[in-house]
Amino acid sequence: MAVSGVLGVFKDLDTAIAGVDALNELGYTRADFEVLTNAPYPEGTFGEEHGMHRLGLFPLVGAACGFSVGLLITGATQMAFPLVTGGKPLFSIPPMIIIMYEGTLLAAVIFTVIGLLFESRLPRLGSNLYDPRITAGYIGLLLHAPAEKVSEAAAALRRAGAEDVILEEQPAPAAAKAPQRKGASA
C-alpha cells in the first residue's frame, strides 16, 4: 500500500490542537503523525504519550564499559607487576580510582554522543516534507497516510484551520541533507 505525506501548517497552538483532533476523528492515532515545532512544548500538549527514552541507556552502558576497562587495566597492572608500594596490599583499590573514574567518564561521553546520533534519527533518511515557516513559530502536523486517504486528511486539516496544507509529490528521496519546503500546496 502506497503511503504519502501530508503536512498541515498551523499558525498557532489552538488551530494546531484542532488539527490534531481532526486527525483523531478520522481514525488516526498519535503514532500516525508527527508534530513539528520550533521549541519544545510540555509533554502531552499534542496528546502524545509520556514516552520512555532510550538515550539514558547509552551513557550507562558506556560508563559500565569504561569502568570495566579501567578496572582491568589497573587490576591487571598490579597483578602483572607485584611491587609492594608504601606497605599497601598488592591489589589496592584507592590508587585505581582515578583511572577507573577517567575510563568511566570517557566511555560515557563517547557512548552518549553515539546515542545522540542514533536516537535523534538525524540526518533523516525518510520523508522530506517540511515547511520553513515551522522554525518561525508555526506548527506542522505531518501525517503519513495511505495514498487514497490523503485528500480526506488534507481537507480535514484545512477545515481545522491549517494555513497551508502541503502534499508529498513523489516518493521520498533516498537521503536528505537539509529539509526544504517540498511538495505542492493543496
Binding site: A39, P40, I98, L105, G115, L116, R121, A136, A178
Partner: protein
C-alpha cells in the same frame, strides 16, 4: 492596571522581566540578528581579539617555546593563562548545567552565554599539551599517580581531551535546534552552513526529547569531567610541583574558586550583552539577582576553603607547613594573595551582601569583574610558586624561592591568549544564536502574569 478584583495593581518591588512578554517572532528575530549582521562594535571587538590572539601566539613562541622545555620557570605565565582559562571559560558551562538540573526559569536567557565559552576551550587544550611536556615522571616525587604507566602525561591528556570534546558536544547539541531556525530564517547567505550544522532537525517530539535528554546527559558528564580535570590539574601542575605540599583540600579549593570565576564570567558577559549586545530585554534584574546570589555564595566558599587549608598549616607549624605558608601566603607571593583575597572574597561579600545592590544590575556585574581580576592574581600566585626552580625530589622546601617577576613576553602572552579565547567566543556568536531561541520560547508558554490583589505576580508552570 485593574485587577480581576477591581482594585489597582502596583509593582511594589521591581518591574517584572520583559522577556516573558515578548512575542515568539521577536525572539526568533533577536536570535538571528547577530548572525545576519554583527554590527560595528562586534567587528571592532573581533578585530581587537584577533590582534590580541596573534600577539599572544607570538609571545608564546618568542618567550617560552624558544626557551625550550628544559626549565619550568619560563613557562610560568603559560601556566597562569592555562589556569585562568580553565577556571573561567572552562567553568562557565557548569553554571548552565547546574541551572538546567534545578529546572530554574530565570536561566533560560543566561544559559547560552555560559555555554558559548566552551567554544574557546581549544586554547587551554593547546596550552595544556605544551605544559604537560614539562612534567617530569612520577618516580621519586609526590604525586597522585602511584607509578601508573603513562602517568602523568597519558592520563592527564585523556581527561583534558575528553573534557574539551564533551564541552563542544554539549554546546553543539544545545545549539542544534537554533541552528535549524537559522537554516530556515537567516537568509540565503547562511542557508548552506546552517543546513549542514542543523543536520535536518525539524522539531519533532522525538527530536525534542533527544535534545532535552542529550543536553542534560552531556552537561552532567561535562561537570563530572570538569571536577576530575581540575582536581588533576591542581594536583599535577601545582601541588606535586611544590615539595612538601600535600594539601588534601587544595584540589577542591581550586575547583570551587573556578566555579566562582565561571559565575563571574557569565555575569560580566551578561552585562556586556545587556549594555552593547542588544539583549536588555532578555537579561534583566531577575537574571542578575539570581547570579549575584550564586556569586556571593561562592565568594564565601572561597574563604571557607582557603581558611581550612590555612589554619591546618598555621597551627601545625612544622618546618614543612611553615615553608608552605611563607611561599604561598606571606612570602614572595603575599601581594598576589592579598589581591586575590580582596577581589575574590572581600569584594563580592561587601558588594553583594546588600540586598538593594544585589537586586540591581551594576552591583553583580562589578562584583563579577572584580572576581575575574582576582582570579588572575590567584593563578599568578599559585603557578609562580609551583613553577619555581626547585628540586621536586625534596620532601619539603628547604628554602623559599624568590618571586617570579613577569617580563614583557609574559604579560603579552597572558593578555593575548585570553583575548584570543574571547575572540573564539565572539566568533561562535555568529554561528550559535543568542538568546537560545528554543529555550526562551519554551519558557514563554510556562509563564503568565496574573493580578494578585493589589499587585501582579508571575505564575510559573512546572510541567515536569
Amino acid at each position: 492596571m485593574a485587577s480581576s478584583h477591581g482594585t489597582t495593581t502596583h509593582n511594589w518591588h521591581r518591574p517584572l522581566p520583559k522577556v516573558w512578554d515578548l512575542p515568539p517572532q521577536r525572539i526568533v528575530a533577536d536570535g538571528l540578528r547577530r548572525i545576519r549582521e554583527g554590527g560595528a562594535t562586534y567587528r571592532l571587538l573581533l578585530i581587537l581579539c584577533a590582534i590580541l590572539g596573534v600577539v599572544g601566539v607570538v609571545a608564546l613562541i618568542a618567550g617560552p617555546v624558544l626557551a625550550g622545555w628544559g626549565e619550568r620557570q619560563p613557562w610560568t605565565y603559560v601556566a597562569v593563562t592555562f589556569g585562568f582559562l580553565m577556571s573561567t571559560i572552562g567553568s562557565a558551562p557548569c553554571l548552565s548545567v547546574a541551572t538546567r538540573l534545578v529546572r530554574s526559569h530565570w536561566r533560560r536567557p543566561v544559559n547560552r552565554l555560559a555555554e558559548i565559552w566552551a567554544a574557546g576551550m581549544i586554547v587551554p587544550l593547546i596550552l595544556f599539551f605544551l605544559l604537560v611536556a614539562l612534567l617530569p615522571n612520577t618516580e621519586g616525587r609526590y604525586s597522585v599517580w602511584f607509578g601508573w604507566w603513562g602517568a602523568p602525561w597519558l592520563w592527564d591528556s585523556l581527561l583534558m581531551v575528553a573534557l574539551v570534546v564533551c564541552g563542544y558536544a554539549f554546546l553543539y547539541t544545545a545549539a542544534m535546534p537554533d541552528m535549524a531556525v537559522a537554516r530556515d530564517q537567516a537568509g540565503p547567505n547562511h542557508n548552506g552552513r546552517f543546513a549542514r550544522l542543523a543536520r535536518g532537525f525539524r522539531g519533532s517530539v522525538q527530536e525534542w526529547r533527544t535534545i532535552d535528554r542529550g543536553v542534560a546527559y552531556l552537561g552532567v558528564l561535562y561537570v563530572l569531567l570538569y571536577v576530575g580535570t581540575m582536581t588533576i590539574i591542581a594536583s599535577d601542575f601545582i601541588l606535586s610541583l611544590i615539595p612538601g605540599n600535600n594539601s588534601a583540600i587544595f584540589p577542591a579549593t581550586y575547583t570551587v574558586q573556578a566555579f566562582e570565576s565561571g559565575i563571574a564570567l557569565t555575569l560580566v558577559t551578561a552585562g556586556i550583552m545587556r549594555w552593547r549586545g542588544g539583549a536588555a530585554d532578555y537579561l534583566d534584574r531577575e537574571q542578575f539577582f539570581a547570579l549575584g546570589k550564586l556569586q556571593l555564595a561562592l565568594g564565601l566558599l572561597w574563604f571557607y576553603f582557603h581558611w581550612t587549608e590555612f589554619i591546618i598549616w598555621w597551627y601545625g607549624r612544622t618546618p614543612r607547613e611553615t615553608a608552605l605558608l611563607k611561599l604561598l601566603y606571606f612570602g614572595p607571593y603575599f601581594v598576589p594573595f592579598a589581591i586575590a583575597f580582596a577581589l575574590m572574597f572581600l569584594a563580592p561579600l561587601s558588594i553583594l551582601l546588600w540586598t538593594r545592590i544585589r537586586m540591581g544590575i551594576a552591583g553583580p556585574i562589578v562584583a563579577g569583574a572584580l572576581v575575574l581580576v582576582g582570579q588572575v592574581f590567584e593563578q599568578i600566585r599559585l603557578y609562580s610558586a609551583s613553577f619555581s626552580n626547585v628540586d621536586l625530589r625534596l620532601r619539603e622546601l628547604d628554602f623559599i624561592p624568590t618571586a617570579y617577576v613577569p617580563g614583557v613576553w609574559d604579560i603579552l602572552l597572558l593578555v593575548g591568549l585570553v583575548g584570543g579565547a574571547i575572540g573564539l567566543g565572539l566568533v561562535t556568536l555568529k554561528v550559535v544564536p543568542y538568546p537560545s531561541i528554543w529555550e526562551v520560547t519554551g519558557g514563554l508558554w510556562l509563564r503568565a502574569r496574573k493580578p494578585f490583589y493589589k499587585t501582579e505576580v508571575v505564575v510559573i508552570g512546572k510541567p515536569e
